[in-house]
């Protein structure tokens, strides 16, 4: 469970979240972040509590047994599409980043294709295997991430004065946009809609777990927002397309095998964004499958529905990569983050409906 939450937290660093936060730097981002931590933790708590009532069942299972058809089909469809979009934002951002910093000559589509092919195999894995992949890769990468963060934070060129200047903007009222972007960090728990089938026993979510998640969340948010400002100054940080990559490029390992930290950073976060993409799309695939099952797509005693969706995902994402530009990506990503509260609302609504149906 922790893995699901933490992977989403770390993956946001490479996504559009830091960009939105620094753009809102003078519009109350600090209070929004504090609010996001509280809301995020309460949200996590309730989602886990509600799912505890249905141990071992996925959301489609629950809704199918306890709610009418006209209700659950649109709801699940909405969730599936949201998850797909969340994945595609990560994918496109990373593809752009990769071509800007690492491989300038490679075309966007080739890079995107490489991602999509590998992810497709991952999506078709069993949910259990996805969880194991997640665990192994994350455990392997965690020390590197911690090392990178320590390296970046202890760098002597990090100017804490700028961070203090940023903090001095605390007197502004929180903004909606930065709040939703910051609360995106805590959305990892929602992956439980599919992975709940593996949690046969009730998840304990007491004070200890809450403290761990809120501390890590607050720390990651702090790092996400303030460290780029410490390296790049407060005045023009909003002009940076990838605040975090530029930040990692500002750190130098004098006697390291690789002098530029940025390459280690990009490779590490390649792993993390892969994981986040894998989880998002796997959940999305399972949700689609649960409502749309084409009996016609039968060939040689096998139903090819999931393959159909995987190919569809691939085609849509390649198409989007080729037409979208960085500015549009940013615009759509922030619109997506802004709709997240609706998402929370629908999730809770459906769970309450199910709860009433089940009378538990």
């Amino acid at each position: 469970m922790y893995y699901l939450i933490f992977v989403t937290m770390f993956a946001n660093i490479i996504a559009t979240v830091p960009r939105i936060l620094v753009i809102e730097k003078e519009k109350g981002v600090i209070l929004s972040m504090i609010a996001a931590v509280f809301v995020g933790i309460i949200f996590t708590y309730y989602v886990i509590q509600l799912f505890n009532k249905f141990s071992g069942q996925t959301l489609p299972d629950i809704l199918k047994s306890y709610s009418p058809k006209w209700f659950y089909i649109p709801v699940i469809l909405y969730f599936a599409v949201t998850w797909f979009i969340a994945g595609i934002i990560t994918l496109i951002t990373y593809v752009f980043l990769f071509t800007t910093f690492v491989s300038l000559e490679t075309s966007l589509i080739v890079t995107a294709l490489a991602f999509v092919i590998i992810i497709s195999f991952g999506m078709l894995m069993k949910s259990g295997s996805v969880l194991y992949t997640l665990e192994i890769v994350f455990v392997l990468l965690l020390p590197v991430i911690v090392f990178l963060f320590i390296k970046i934070i202890t760098d002597e060129n990090l100017e804490w004065d700028f961070i203090q200047v940023a903090m001095m903007n605390i007197n502004t009222t929180p903004s909606y946009r930065s709040f939703t972007a910051a609360s995106y960090l805590f959305i990892g728990v929602v992956n439980i809609v599919i992975f709940n089938s593996f949690f046969k026993e009730k998840l304990t979510f007491g004070f200890k777990q809450m403290t761990i998640i809120s501390t890590v969340g607050a720390l990651v948010l702090f790092i996400t927002y303030f460290i780029p400002i410490g390296f790049n100054g407060f005045e023009q940080i909003e002009h940076m397309n990838f605040p975090w990559v530029s930040t990692s490029d500002s750190v130098r390992m004098k006697y390291g095998v690789i002098e530029r930290v940025v390459f280690i950073f990009i490779i590490t976060f390649l792993g993390i964004s892969f994981l986040s993409l894998l989880v998002h799309w796997h959940v999305s695939l399972k949700l689609f499958e649960s409502i749309l099952h084409f009996n016609k797509l039968k060939w040689k005693n096998k139903n090819w529905t999931s393959y159909f969706f995987v190919i569809l995902f691939g085609v849509v994402s390649i198409y989007l990569v080729s037409i979208i530009d960085e500015f549009e990506l940013f615009k759509y990503a922030s619109i997506f983050y802004n709709t997240l509260p609706i998402f929370y609302f629908i999730l809770f609504l459906s769970l309450f409906v199910a709860k009433r149906g089940a009378k538990v």
């Binding site: 491989s103 000559e105 700028f162 200047v165 005045e235 490029d249 500002s250």
Partner: protein, 373 residues
Amino acid sequence: MLIFRRKKRFFLFVIFIQCILLLSGCGFKDIDNRLFVIGVGVDPSEKEEGHFKVTLKISIPVASIKEEKKPSYQYLVHEGENIEEAVRILETHTDKVLEFGHTKIILVNEALLENNIKDVMDYFVRRGDIQLIAWVGAAKASAEEVLRAEPKAEEAVSTSLIKFFDNTGTESPYIVSTFLFEFRRNSHSLGIDPVLPIIETNDDGSQLIVNKSLIVHEGRAPYELSSRLTREYNSLENSLGGYSYKVEFEGNNIVLNIGKNKVKYKVITDNQKPISINVKLEMTGEIIESDKDLSLNNLEKYNELAEDEVKKHVMEFLTTVQKENLDPIGFGLEYRTMHLNNKDTMSKWNEAYLDLPFDVKADVHLKSTGTIE
């Protein structure tokens, strides 16, 4: 039936392997088709106003370090309306791809620092493949000349120009080193002015000299710090030691060597208005040169004398830059960290800065008189 199925699988496998042969790679160029640009210099054009002259210093790979006595470089020079145009034309001057991923130094002609900083810097920051940890320097006379200099002590695989700044070779308080990201940060931020090292070369290009620096402020002629003021700046901003002061005591000339240096500064405010700047220095050092014999009993006395001397030098630096209304240390930034942000924070500071008094406290602690008394 089983054999048939196996054959089919084998057949598919063969096709798959053959497909690999058809792949042409990911548009990636091999290393032997690349030239590594290690330094970029930008000068104003000699022919046309507003144009730039771009010089690239390209390192030619050597087969074996032992065989090569001298490093070999190629220089590409071209003038263009902007940097990108010049670089694009320079790509046609060579059969290989220019690789900017190893660019470690960016030299800008002094004359361009007055008005064109943003134009010049924009290109280098915008290109993702140029490191943000490249060093930026101001070239005196011209960037081309400095790049073309090949010092005698240079070895086959290391570039002297870079070794000045990276603190693996020489470490001196006279050398200011500024990363590209640092320069960009400080030139865009309010309350701090960036400082660049000045790199000069002698007439025949056999020596590089770095011991002065420039305070850059957009829209103004950059202010040059002499070697001594550069040293004071470095000791204040980067806490660098390794320099000496001369004091006189009872007709005896004593030279002190400062080893370690700790600096703290604080802006004192009263009712949101800055009233003075406190600078506190803690130094440890030793006596390195003296006319007469010294006595350890007198160390206390020498400490006091040294403190006065340090104070004098630091004050000189601080008041000089204050008179020019420049703020390389970032006192303005310090002031901003102490107040909730609103529109007039900076204007309040700008009004007050020019006549703020400095309060310098030095605490020198001499450890020894060297190997002799």
